[in-house]
């Protein structure tokens, strides 16, 4: 509630209204429920005064004024429905239609076109324009973005979202007058991040999507709000589906912390779901060859073989590798399966960020309220980024940082081994360090000395407050403790984000897909926590921490581990395993979406469902839990939830869970930091988790490493995305700055 001095009183359409000083008339009008139409005005983007749709009549002003550029003043008396204003709008629409092809029936935007809607509301039914229209052929800016000049109304939204929102600046205006057109930055061609924000923000069908165009009509689609399954940022996205096929993804309702933002992967990279190369029937190895089989046979075989291994080789002869993309519920069940029924703590996953150490150091310091959210980043006044290249690896995070810098003049401090884009374009101070010297830089920051940049950085940050500290995989173990110790000493309410690669990297760690930690980062060594979970799971737990991934591979080598269960992971590729290694196993079971380097060696391959085909929750890199919703079904596949529950049943234990929601309830009641409000989660909110725990320290630093995916790669799945592989930029060297 702004105080009296900061508010302005005016009258709009006879209704008195008080708004903060500096409010634009077009926004003030919304408050009294008067809708003023607009094309070029777009909240958060620079003012244009170009489309003249927002003309209103203001007392004591000689002519109509544009509400989008008029700042309210005390005593202003505004009439948005004045006959002249209404005629003005009608006129603008008639003008726009003079050269606008009326091909609405075949236009992608038909049914959700702002021009169509405006004409419906304010326009004239017939046009008096009988001259010939200027025709121009459609242009292919890139495999994902097409431009149709005659449909373009020159609202310049695409240019502004690309400049101001993305800082890519790929668009310009060519020619002049009625020949003006939007031009791409490289001749006929767009060279950019291919985020598709321009397509999304285009009010008409001028910019269209290479994946969506001419596919369908918007009203034939069913829409489901869910969470992108690529990077660890966790953007909210709405999947549009028609007969079990995803047709497009966007976030027009601006729900979620990403607002309307989606990157190339989020907007176009879901198409791996529709890939023909999806596994749709279980595969079972018969005398050397993998053959399709029924689910029943595949599951029976799996459980039977697991039984033997356990009988022949005893506890600890089975290992489990979990996923960075499966849901929290699935991860929780997977480690439960391992620790209880499979009698092993040899459970781990590809760790892409050192969440464990962040959790333990914050817990030790009693500062478990210092996890920063994606919103915190956008609102921050000061951000310290150490390592990583968010522009490539965390597109939303980069967007949030840019928002902070652009909208509230936040200072960005960067420590990095290379000239990442944020360092060159947004950073107030950029301390370049040698390869592998990020940890040393942290030590210098926390102590004294260091390069000139480090020194300035230290001095400047000491004067900031409420800094958000973000670090990549370059910082792990002791360096994380150091960073947290120092950070908590900075002025104000310092908060932290550890960066991990994928949609549920954070959740995998949170849910205890780790050899030494039970869910919520509680050490398996702790008898107190063991007994708590034993009570819930009604089975004994081993006190001995399990083998980590590297040790699991060694144990496979030595024959100590005989059976391996892999869920949603491709270790052969990720860890560059020698071909013969997995051959030494007497049983390899893999649940996967696609044939991979790992499924190749499997005795049993179980075709899994994607994020679009199941429900559950995922936790982003900041620790914000969000719900994913079932959007469609894929014949022949089963969710990892169903698979794990089935395996448990096959091994003689029928668990009580009917749906992943039952599992979530258990997590909420028993996992420290996850006592989240189910209702808000279910209405699509992001809920911050605040894990507290004392996981065992990292034994080996090489356990944590990022895959350094780019804007166009996403581990194994991106190989199966036509869209991501179709853009030229994908072929460029990593780190290329647009």
């Amino acid at each position: 509630m702004a105080d009296a001095t900061a508010t302005v009183n005016l009258t709009i359409d006879g209704k008195p209204v008080a708004v903060p000083t500096g409010t634009l008339l077009i926004e003030a009008a919304k408050q009294v429920g008067s809708e003023v139409p607009s094309f070029c005005y777009y909240p958060g983007l620079a003012l244009q005064g170009a489309c003249r749709m927002c003309l209103v009549s203001i007392e004591k002003m000689p002519k109509l004024q544009t509400a989008c550029t008029t700042i309210v003043s005390n005593g202003m008396v505004v009439n948005t429905q004045h006959p002249e204003a209404v005629n003005g709008r009608k006129a603008m629409l008639e003008f726009l239609l003079t050269n606008h092809p009326l091909d609405c029936p075949v236009c992608d935007k038909g049914g959700e076109c702002e021009l169509q809607d405006a004409v419906f509301r304010y326009g004239a039914a017939e046009t008096r324009f009988i001259e010939t229209k200027q025709h121009q052929d459609e242009l292919k800016f890139s495999s994902l973005v097409y431009y149709d000049r005659p449909r373009c109304i020159l609202c310049y939204r695409c240019i502004r979202v690309c400049d101001e929102g993305m800082d890519v600046n790929a668009y310009g205006i060519g020619f002049r007058g009625s020949h003006s057109e939007i031009i791409p930055n490289h001749g006929e061609h767009l060279e950019c991040e291919e985020c598709g924000m321009c397509v999304d923000i285009c009010p008409v069908g001028a910019l269209t999507s290479g994946t969506y165009r001419y596919k369908t009509r918007p009203w034939e689609l069913t829409y489901t709000g869910t969470i992108c399954n690529h990077c660890g940022d966790g953007c909210k996205t709405t999947l549009s589906v028609r007969n079990n096929e995803i047709i497009r993804a966007n976030n027009r309702d601006h729900s979620g912390f990403n607002g309307e933002f989606l990157c190339a992967k989020g907007r176009f990279g879901w198409d791996f779901v529709n890939s023909e190369r999806r596994l749709t029937a279980p595969l079972v190895r018969h005398n050397g060859k993998q053959e399709a089989s029924s689910w029943e046979d595949a599951l029976d075989l799996t459980t039977a073989r697991l039984q033997d291994v356990l009988e022949k080789h005893g506890p600890g002869s089975v290992a489990v590798i979990g996923s960075n993309r499966t849901t929290n519920e699935e991860n929780y069940l997977l480690q439960r399966l391992a620790r209880t029924i499979l009698k092993t703590n040899h459970v781990d996953h590809h760790r892409t960020g050192d969440f464990s150490t962040l959790v333990s150091s914050l817990s030790e310091a009693g500062a478990s309220d210092r996890y920063a959210s994606m919103e915190d980043v956008a609102r921050a006044s000061s951000v310290l980024l150490i390592g990583n290249d968010p522009t490539q690896q965390h597109p939303l995070l980069a967007y949030q940082i840019r928002q902070a810098v652009r909208q509230n003049n936040a200072r960005l401090y960067v420590v990095n081994r290379s000239e990442v884009k944020l360092a060159l374009r947004q950073a107030a101070v950029f301390a370049k360090v040698g390869v592998g010297e990020e940890a040393a830089a942290v030590r210098e920051l926390a102590g004294d000395g260091g390069s000139a940049e480090i020194t300035t950085l230290r001095d400047k940050i000491a004067k900031e407050s409420d800094t958000v500290v973000i670090f990549g995989d370059e910082i792990q173990g002791e360096a994380v403790r150091e960073l947290v110790r120092w950070g908590l000493g900075l002025p104000g309410h310092t908060r932290f984000i550890a960066l991990g690669d994928y949609a549920n990297s954070r959740g995998a760690a949170d849910m205890g897909v780790l050899p030494g930690s039970l869910p919520g980062y509680q050490p398996v060594g702790s008898s107190e926590w063991r007994s708590r979970y034993e009570a819930v799971w009604e089975m004994p737990l081993a006190a001995q921490p399990g083998r980590n991934l590297r040790e699991i591979f060694d144990a496979i080598e030595s024959g100590a581990i005989q059976a391996l269960l892999v869920v949603g992971s491709n270790p052969v590729k990720t860890f560059q395993l020698p071909r013969e290694l997995l051959g030494r196993l007497s049983l390899l079971v893999v649940a996967e979406l696609f044939p991979t380097e790992t499924t190749e060696f499997a005795d049993v391959v179980l075709p899994a469902a994607t994020f679009a085909e199941k429900a559950g929750t995922v936790t982003n890199t900041c620790g914000q839990a969000q719900a994913i919703k079932k959007t469609m079904r894929k014949a022949g596949t089963r969710s990892d939830f169903e698979i794990i529950v089935a395996l448990a049943r096959g091994l003689g234990h029928s668990w009580p869970y009917r749906s992943s929601e039952d599992v979530l309830r258990e997590i909420i009641t028993h996992v420290p930091g996850y006592a989240i409000a189910l209702p808000s989660l279910l209405v699509g909110r992001a809920v911050m988790t605040r894990p507290q725990g004392a996981p065992p320290a990292l034994e080996r630093p090489d356990l944590v490493f990022s895959s350094h995916d780019t804007l166009f790669t996403s581990g194994t799945v991106s190989r199966f995305s036509w869209a991501l592989n179709s853009v030229d930029e994908a072929k460029r060297p990593h780190g290329h700055i647009f």
């Binding site: 600046n169 790929a170 668009y171 310009g172 205006i173 060519g174 020619f175 031009i183």
Partner: protein
């Protein structure tokens, strides 16, 4: 390759402004004067010198009607047909040029000697009908005067 003269001129012009990009339009025009039209190389070079992205230079080229991306003839006839000239036969002068040169609006003769362009008011209204050949004004034009000019230019043009 831009001449050293031009590069020197670039430096001198850029120095006139507190913000380098102010020099874009002058630089484009000077580059065009020397090269005959605006080449990709010129665009890159100017963008580099004033520290903008090439597309920002391209945007300006599209906007300003004197700037062109294609070569024009050694003698570019720019005939004004705006009101003052029109009233005194500007359009007839344009047609006459077109007939004598065998080219139309924004066209160039095969030998590359002449180009023709119909232009807006040149600020020679009191000398109507008027035209500019490159930067030189020719006013109070008559078809006969046009014929004489074409002959002169032909002579020089070949040489």
């Amino acid at each position: 390759m831009l001449s050293d003269n031009l590069k020197a001129k670039f430096d001198q012009v850029i120095a006139r402004y507190p913000v380098k990009r102010s020099a874009i339009v002058p630089l484009l025009l000077f580059a065009q004067d020397e090269i005959g039209y605006i080449t990709d190389e010129a665009i890159e070079e100017i963008a580099r010198r004033v520290e903008v992205r090439p597309i920002e230079v391209v945007e300006d080229i599209g906007y300003y009607s004197m700037l062109h991306r294609q070569p024009v003839g050694k003698y570019n006839f720019q005939v004004c047909t705006n009101v003052s000239c029109q009233l005194l036969g500007g359009e007839e002068i344009l047609d006459h040029c077109s007939k004598r040169l065998g080219i139309g609006h924004k066209q160039t003769t095969p030998d590359g000697v002449f180009s023709l362009e119909e232009v807006e008011c040149l600020g020679a209204c009191c000398g109507a009908p008027a035209m500019q050949v490159n930067y030189d004004f020719y006013e109070n034009l008559t078809p006969a005067r046009i014929d004489r000019l074409i002959e002169e230019f032909k002579a020089n043009g070949k040489a």
